[in-house]
């Protein structure tokens, strides 16, 4: 493990030659290297490279079927890449180096790695049989980080932060979609992840509920948490993104600050997409 991470820190510095003076000491928060993913003959990702600096808010845009959700799911190894690798805060995810090859890690190690990466789903996926409080408190207890009482205390704190302290004893299905998604965000925060991934967090919500979820995400962005967000909310992207990544056909077409990618897109495909969604 230690040998692996030294190697990695070294490699990270090599891989990002453009910003050596700034980022040499700290590894990238998320590093995606030449990732390919296919299902049968259907190619979803075709060599994606992406570097997310610590504290950065990255918004991934792209037409449906472009591979943006898959990219997000590759980062926490819910999907295994066929080629390429991903590292988060300098640690290879789902694989280890074995000589010059990559070997799959055992499930327990992968689960431990995932517990350091937050993930928020489009459909919330709260546990319906547990109360809101237990939904948030479950993971710190199950992973052995906190005792039951401490975990519940942390859960109450986090629920307060997303404005749902009074819903602690409700069951998820008794809440609105927006409230459920805020609980899901609190649940992801309970593991104090270094990076949080959002997979279209507002796509399943009624329009009037989108705002409350975006507000919670904005607050997170302000606290300096590294966020990677797949979304269709262009206005939101413009407001909070440090960087916008446009992806199509399983490749990154262009990326840069929102003022460039959203206002002066260089590529025809980006322009087409923005014309359709704006």
């Amino acid at each position: 493990m230690t040998a692996g991470s030294t190697e990695l820190a070294h490699e990270t510095a090599d891989a990002a030659p453009g910003d050596t003076e700034l980022t040499r000491p700290a590894p990238a928060a998320v590093e995606v290297r030449d990732v390919h993913k296919w299902y049968g003959t259907h190619r979803v990702l075709n060599g994606v490279d992406l570097t997310v600096r610590p504290g950065e808010v990255t918004v991934i845009l792209g037409p449906s079927g472009s591979g943006k959700s898959t990219l997000l799911r590759v980062i926490n190894h819910l999907e295994k890449p066929e080629i390429g690798h991903v590292s988060v805060n300098g640690e290879l995810i789902g694989v280890r180096r074995h000589g010059d090859r990559l070997k799959e890690l055992n499930e327990r190690t992968i689960l431990a790695q995932r517990s350091r990466i937050g993930f928020v789903f489009q459909n919330f996926n709260l546990f319906p049989h547990l109360t809101v409080l237990d939904n948030v408190a479950a993971a710190p207890v199950a992973t052995g980080r906190l005792g039951g009482e401490q975990a519940r205390e942390l859960a109450r704190e986090l629920l307060d932060r997303v404005g749902l302290a009074d819903k602690a004893d409700a069951y998820p299905r008794q809440l609105s979609g927006g409230q459920q998604q805020r609980v899901a965000i609190a649940r992801a925060l309970a593991l104090r992840p270094g990076v949080i991934l959002f997979d279209e967090p507002t796509s399943a919500l009624d329009p009037e509920l989108v705002g409350e979820v975006l507000t919670v995400i904005k607050d997170l962005a302000r606290t300096g948490t590294t966020l990677v967000i797949v979304t269709h909310e262009i206005g939101f992207a413009r407001e909070i993104a440090d960087r916008v990544v446009f992806i199509d056909g399983g490749r990154i077409v262009e990326q840069g600050p929102p003022s460039e990618v959203l206002d002066r897109p260089r590529h025809e495909r980006t322009r087409d997409f923005l014309a359709k969604v704006l």
């Binding site: 819910l78 689960l111 517990s115 996926n125 049989h129 069951y171 998820p172």
Partner: protein, 327 residues
């Protein structure tokens, strides 16, 4: 209602349409539709039911006095106890076996999947009575071997007697059979849990065992319960087959008593029927509360218990009587 949108402002200033003098039916109570056909059907069914009950009570063929005599006879109650024991052990062991078989069938290992599939295929194909008789003869032939098999402490008490062996044979036979069916019930339950739940659990990095025990299985139980109870009710009655491996359960006792008192066969069968009805009813009541327990979170409000229903019904009735009286 059909005013052009431009007129909206002036309409808002005009008195609201509810105040217009037109006779609105809103205040009047809607009279329910009369259904004479339904009343006739009800009358016919009631008459038939009354005839059936009358026949049951008045026909000397049933010998209700003998039914009363046998119902609480210690020998019958001993048989009932055997039935209960066999049922409980087989239900628990069968469910545990079923969970293991279901996990094996859902595992990534092709060997485990194949073994589980073959087991389920074989045990569902062989009639239970054949399994029981096979085990019975097997244990008679290999007495020493069967003693070497370790069993739970529950069986140790009977270890010496002949009954113990029969009980063990019966429980093993029923459990083997039950496990094959339970496996499919459990597997169906696990498959019914939304894929998103598995994903959320693994995205949080919850350990595998925790994922199954705390996230997936409790949700699966919601659909496992009614199906397994169905299975369980079948099992309660299947226990009557253990008579053929010389274990005297409820049915076996009645059968034996019937051979000794041939005149009492019908009341004895009635006694057996009544006890099986009671057992099934108890299982159904337990089912209701178990289902209610696992419905937490799945429905916005829990279904009311019979007592709550009764109370709500009485309140409703009282309110209705008061309303009728007022009219």
């Amino acid at each position: 209602m059909s005013e052009p949108p431009g007129a909206a402002v002036s309409v808002a200033e005009a008195p609201p349409p509810a105040d217009t003098p037109s006779k609105e039916p809103a205040a009047q109570r809607v009279l329910p539709l009369r259904r004479p056909g339904r009343w006739i059907a009800t009358a016919v069914v009631l008459v038939l039911a009354a005839q059936f009950v009358h026949g049951l009570v008045s026909n000397p063929f049933y010998q209700w006095d003998r039914f009363g005599y046998w119902f609480f006879r210690p020998t019958i109650l001993d048989g009932l106890l055997v039935t209960l024991e066999v049922t409980v052990y087989s239900a628990v062991l069968g469910l545990l076996g079923g969970i293991l078989l279901a996990l094996a069938r859902l595992s990534t290992s092709p060997v485990l999947r194949a073994v589980s599939w073959v087991y389920i295929w074989a045990l569902r194909s062989i009639p239970l009575i054949v399994v029981l008789l096979f085990l019975y003869n097997f244990s008679a032939l290999y007495r020493t071997l069967s003693l070497g098999v370790p069993f739970g402490p529950a069986f140790l008490a009977f270890d010496e007697s002949r009954l113990a062996t029969d009980m063990v044979v019966a429980v093993i036979g029923l459990s083997l059979n039950e496990a094959a069916y339970a496996a499919e019930v459990v597997r169906g339950g696990i498959l019914s849990v939304d894929q998103g739940q598995h994903e959320a659990a693994s995205a949080l990095g919850l350990p595998k065992r925790y994922q199954f025990r705390r996230i997936v299985f409790p949700q699966a139980l919601r659909s496992i319960t009614p199906n397994y109870v169905n299975q369980l009710i079948g099992l309660v009655k299947s226990t009557s087959l253990v008579f053929y491996v010389s274990l005297l359960d409820l049915f076996g006792t009645a059968q034996t008593m019937g051979a000794t008192y041939p005149g009492d066969i019908v009341p004895l069968l009635l006694v057996v029927t009544a006890w099986y009805l009671i057992l099934t009813s108890v299982v159904s009541v337990i089912q209701f509360y178990v289902e209610r327990y696992y419905a937490r979170g799945a429905t916005r409000t829990l279904p009311p218990t019979p007592l709550q229903k009764l109370r709500a019904g009485l309140t409703e009735l009282r309110a209705r009587i008061r309303r009728e009286a007022a009219v």
